[in-house]
């Protein structure tokens, strides 16, 4: 049987007969990127689209994210999908703070990214007002292909970032902007 499986590209390194040497950062990055555990914070229709992304047709599991984590303490990736009201804001922030490093945030759809059509007194005008966001997915709602693309972008980040991202000065500055320790 001919099965078409594309192996993961090797990171840069030294190769010779019987050995392969590369930096620890790259190996850990590779492992992290291909085993992200997303926490779905789904509040509305984008969440429905995410269900399609997880189901057999689009199958997010192909990219190593088949295990959704419903506890923030075990999640690597916070996926915010849907309208976040101002009253919900502190709860979202608490969920983000409970996640262990390394953590990434993906904002799916117009509402999570900017408030969307809900330019009104009760709706938070973008989650980046309360937590830092790594990748934004536009659309109302975005198609599952776009969600997959967003996850792949997060994977690129996970691969290329330093093993202890939280120690980098840029990251510290970013978190300080949001008043998060």
């Amino acid at each position: 049987m001919d099965i078409n499986i594309k192996p993961e590209n090797k990171p840069e390194g030294l190769e010779g007969a019987g050995y392969f040497a590369t930096s620890l950062d790259r190996v850990v990055g590779l492992a992290r990127a291909n085993s992200l555990w997303p926490l779905p914070f789904a509040t509305s229709c984008c969440g429905i689209e995410f269900m399609a992304t997880m189901a057999s047709h689009y199958d997010l599991a192909r990219f190593g994210s088949e295990r959704l984590s419903f506890s923030p303490r075990q999640a690597d990736l916070l996926m915010v999908m849907g309208t976040i009201s101002k009253k919900m804001g502190p709860i979202l922030r608490q969920v983000y703070e409970q996640m262990a490093e390394p953590k990434w945030v993906l904002s799916m759809g117009a509402c999570a990214s900017s408030g969307g059509i809900f330019d009104t007194y009760s709706v938070l005008q973008g989650i980046d007002r309360i937590i830092p966001v790594d990748v934004y997915i536009p659309g109302c709602p975005p198609r599952p292909e776009q969600v997959l693309d967003g996850i792949l972008k997060i994977q690129e980040l996970a691969k290329s970032e330093s093993i202890r991202r939280r120690d980098t000065p840029e990251y510290k500055v970013k978190l300080a902007q949001y008043g998060i320790e």
């Binding site: 101002k86 009253k87 804001g89 408030g115 330019d119 009104t120 007194y121 009760s122 709706v123 005008q125």
Partner: protein, 167 residues
């Protein structure tokens, strides 16, 4: 419906004299406007009187019509008679700044959350309410968003260029 309107209007007139300000049919809905100070008595009467028997409070909602000088704010109580399947509305009006209204939580416990909502959105102060605080909006909100002097749009946005919005 006109029979129901006349029957209830007759009863309210006998009981409260001038307290009944108007009785009209809006589409097929009997609507009664009464004096604010007798609202609890009116609702108690409609609930307990065996002839009327409006034993269920369907909903309660606030009204803000700034163009009605002296009666800008109002409250609408919708009652239902479960046995006879009859529905009526009772309205009261009050000037802006006189938002103290008697609570009807002693009549219907369900009015608790309804009154909290009307406080949240319009700022009605229900006297006698056991726990009058915001219910839907965040606690830090410092205005009553359904009042018409406040814009619907979010005030914290600073990326809105009027040119882009054709204004």
């Amino acid at each position: 419906m006109i029979d129901l309107l006349n029957q209830i209007a007759e009863k309210l007139k006998t009981k409260f004299n001038d307290g009944l300000l108007s009785a009209e049919l809006h589409y097929d809905f009997p609507v009664f406007i009464v004096e604010k100070k007798i609202i609890v008595d009116v609702l108690t009467f409609l609930k307990d009187d065996t002839d009327t028997g409006f034993n269920f409070l369907t909903t309660l909602c606030g009204i803000h019509m700034p163009e009605n000088k002296g009666a800008e704010l109002g409250l609408m109580y919708q009652l239902q008679n479960m046995e006879k399947n009859q529905r009526i509305r009772i309205k009261i009006f009050m000037p802006d700044g006189e938002t103290k209204t008697p609570s009807i939580t002693s009549l219907w416990p369900t009015a608790n959350w309804m009154e909290r909502q009307e406080y949240d959105f319009f700022g009605f102060e229900f006297t006698g309410h056991p726990d009058l605080r915001r219910i839907l909006n965040m606690d830090e909100m410092n205005y009553f968003p359904m009042r018409k002097e406040y814009p619907l749009e979010d005030s914290s946005r600073d990326d809105k260029n009027d040119k882009m919005f054709g204004r």
